[in-house]
């Protein structure tokens, strides 16, 4: 091979090494990162070095060797650093600079010093071998960790190059005549290997990046699906809890429904019997009909309340008047309050306290807390609830305090965790569902012992227009 031919082959190798990183940069346009940038920089430096070797006349001979070797060294460092960065264990960049400088000085030293020919000849392939083995090692690690064929291709290509370096070193160091000639003969093979390594390495790198991005995309999709599933499950659970809560008030609701029914039946039958016996004057029958109508309206109010509470699981978002839903839920538990002889003091500031959210889910939270409070005060003779609705600049606080025995410290700590309950018939989901609903509304539930006895629950929600975000 003549010097001219060898120069052309170096130039074409350099061109390929120049085009490949550009190709990577374009193909991975959407996945550009420091890793990609480092890899491309490494390839470009390699290309630069090859160009220098291919056009020896460009730089003065003195600088030429050093520049070419330094660029090769830095090219390898960049590629190793790219792989290390990919595995989140990069070297410090300033150490890379120090290493490059050290290498340059060492190389210059071997050139200046006399009698170190073998060392000088062996230094470049030896350092290249170490660096190539680094590349092989990291690529192998990535291939193992990520089951990546592309990384395996990178490792394989660089292993071939490393093998070539071993061959060169062996020719240099083993006492055999014509060592230099051998290296020259192998230069055609070296070119082939260099081309192969550049191709396999760069294509492998593109493959690795694409595999990575596909994986991330799959992960993201799966994560999104999980999140959505959790949301649906959460809503269904909240719905179930609502139905259960409704089941708990069902007994008192049955009583409540029975009262107007009793009045209606008695009025209607009074009218029927009175009319049959001709004992009813028009004024009397009108009065009876009025009674029937009044009580039917009473009934429909109760059924309306039930209907609005049992509703599909999907949340409906809008402005929610906290005072209104608190009053509605107090009405819902009114029969219980009456039967247990619980006094309720409800203090609202008089101004509208609105939050953004699902009225039914928030009602459910209020009902859960009220039910807990009513159960707590059953244990004491003096039964009362103090409910307070206040607002600050950006937050609404509904505080429900009971006159019950308060919480054990251990209970206070664990209350609100799913499936924890102190009640024999409880699922232990009430408070955790309430907490979850409030979290979805960017709010919180704080359970603590009140000063002066009893437990206190604070329901905190961002005010409407103060960043109250939708679940």
């Amino acid at each position: 091979m003549t010097g001219q031919e060898s120069g052309i082959s170096y130039l074409s190798l350099g061109l390929i090494n120049l085009l490949l990183p550009l190709l990577i940069w374009v193909v991975l346009a959407r996945l550009r990162s420091r890793v990609v940038a480092l890899w491309c920089l490494g390839s470009l430096l390699g290309a630069g070095s090859l160009f220098l070797v291919g056009r020896p006349g460009v730089l003065p001979g003195r600088i030429f060797d050093s520049a070419s070797n330094l660029m090769d060294f830095m090219s390898m460092l960049c590629i190793i650093q790219a792989l290390r960065l990919d595995q989140k264990v990069p070297w410090r960049f300033r150490w890379l600079a120090v290493a490059s400088l050290g290498y340059l000085l060492l190389y210059e030293f071997t050139r200046q010093a006399q009698g170190y020919l073998t060392l000088r000849m062996a230094l470049v392939p030896f350092v290249a071998l170490i660096l190539l083995l680094q590349v092989v090692g990291w690529a192998w690690l990535i291939a193992r960790r990520q089951q990546s064929v592309s990384a395996l291709a990178i490792a394989g290509a660089h292993l071939l190059l490393a093998g070539n370096m071993v061959y060169i070193l062996a020719n240099l160091l083993l006492p055999r005549s014509g060592a230099l000639a051998c290296t020259r003969q192998s230069s055609g093979l070296m070119d082939m290997l260099g081309l192969l390594a550049a191709l396999a390495g760069d294509v492998g790198f593109i493959g690795l990046a694409l595999e990575r991005s596909l994986h991330q995309w799959q992960e993201a999709a799966a994560g999104e699906a999980r999140l959505e599933e959790r949301q649906i499950l959460g809503n269904q659970l909240a719905h179930l809890d609502r139905q259960r809560g409704f089941g708990l008030v069902a007994a008192s609701l049955a009583h409540e429904l029975n009262q107007p029914l009793t009045a209606i039946l008695a009025s209607a039958q009074a009218a029927q019997r009175g009319t049959a016996a001709n004992r009813l004057n028009p004024a009397q029958s009108l009065e009876l009909l009025d009674k029937i109508i009044i009580n039917v309206r009473r009934l429909s109010m109760i059924t309306g309340r039930i209907r609005s509470f049992i509703r599909p699981a999907e949340p409906h978002l809008g402005p929610v008047d906290l005072e209104q839903i608190t009053r509605e839920m107090l009405e819902m538990v009114a029969p219980d309050l009456q039967r247990q002889d619980v006094r309720v003091a409800f203090a609202a500031g008089g101004e509208l306290v609105q939050v953004q959210g699902d009225a039914i889910q928030l009602s459910q939270v209020v009902l859960n807390v009220l039910r807990n409070a009513i159960e707590a005060v059953q244990l004491v003779p003096e039964r009362s609830l103090q409910i307070q609705l206040t607002r600050s600049a950006d937050e609404a606080v509904l505080s429900i305090r009971d006159s019950g025995p308060g919480l054990d410290p251990e209970v206070a700590e664990r209350a609100g965790m799913p499936y924890f309950t102190t009640k024999a018939d409880g699922l232990g989901l009430g408070l955790s569902i309430s907490t979850a609903i409030l979290q979805q509304h960017k709010g919180s539930l704080v359970l603590r012992n009140a000063e002066g006895g009893g437990a206190s629950v604070d329901i905190r929600l961002p005010l409407l227009g103060a960043g109250g975000v939708l679940p």
């Binding site: 029975n258 029914l261 009793t262 008695a266 009025s267 009813l280 009044i294």
Partner: protein, 219 residues
């Protein structure tokens, strides 16, 4: 006749047929059942709380004569029906009917043990209600009748002298005049005389009647 007098007369007429004390915390139910009962010709006094009724009982007030019963709701806030029934039973023997919307067997059993005449489940059919009320009023009438009888018997027994009392007891035990005379150390003629006075004072037609009256009093 003035309206007051007429309404008083009408009330007296209704009370003769039967007076029902209705207690329920739901005013609509009070109004409806009151209408139903009044159309049937009964007198109806309604209270929205058992405590109100008990308080009213503390002030003795004469109502027109006639049978009466109490119709009491079980589920009430300040004093529930079962407790009210217990307190009423301590005061008098007016028959009590209980009514409830969602009561279990336990409440019904408690009510019957405490002497409730019936336990009605809301909503109550008019026929069921009226039949129960009619039975309760009948029971009330019986009890009043017995009470009157017992009262007069007590009064009549009180009219007997100790000697006459001794003789009456022995007659009731079926002892012969001669035996009574021996036991009490009386002449046969005196025994006959006392015996005659007993018949007169206890308003008995004959000896058999005398024995029945005295047995009723469990002497």
């Amino acid at each position: 006749m003035s309206p007051e007098l007429r309404s008083a007369a009408e009330r007296a007429e209704r009370c003769r047929r039967g007076r029902i004390v209705l207690i329920d915390d739901d005013v609509e139910i009070l109004a409806a059942i009151t209408s139903l009962l009044e159309f049937e010709g009964y007198a109806c006094d309604s209270f929205s709380s058992a405590l109100d009724y008990l308080r009213q009982l503390e002030v003795p007030r004469r109502s027109p004569p006639g049978p009466s019963c109490v119709l009491l709701d079980v589920m009430m806030p300040d004093l529930d029906g079962l407790e009210a029934q217990r307190r009423l039973a301590d005061l008098d023997d007016t028959p009590v009917l209980l009514m409830s919307g969602a009561s279990g067997a336990r409440e019904a059993v408690t009510a019957f043990r405490a002497g409730a005449l019936d336990f009605l489940i809301k909503p109550i059919e008019a026929e069921t209600l009226l039949a129960a009320v009619e039975r309760a009023l009948l029971a009330s009438r019986d009890r009043q009748h017995l009470r009157v009888k017992a009262q007069s018997l007590t009064r009549r027994l009180a009219a007997l002298t100790p000697r006459e009392h001794d003789v009456a007891i022995r007659v009731a035990h079926g002892k012969l005049n001669r035996v009574i005379g021996e036991e009490l150390g009386l002449a046969l003629r005196t025994v006959k005389l006392y015996r005659q006075r007993c018949l007169e004072k206890l308003e008995a037609r004959n000896t058999a009647d005398l024995i029945r009256i005295l047995q009723e009093e469990e002497l």
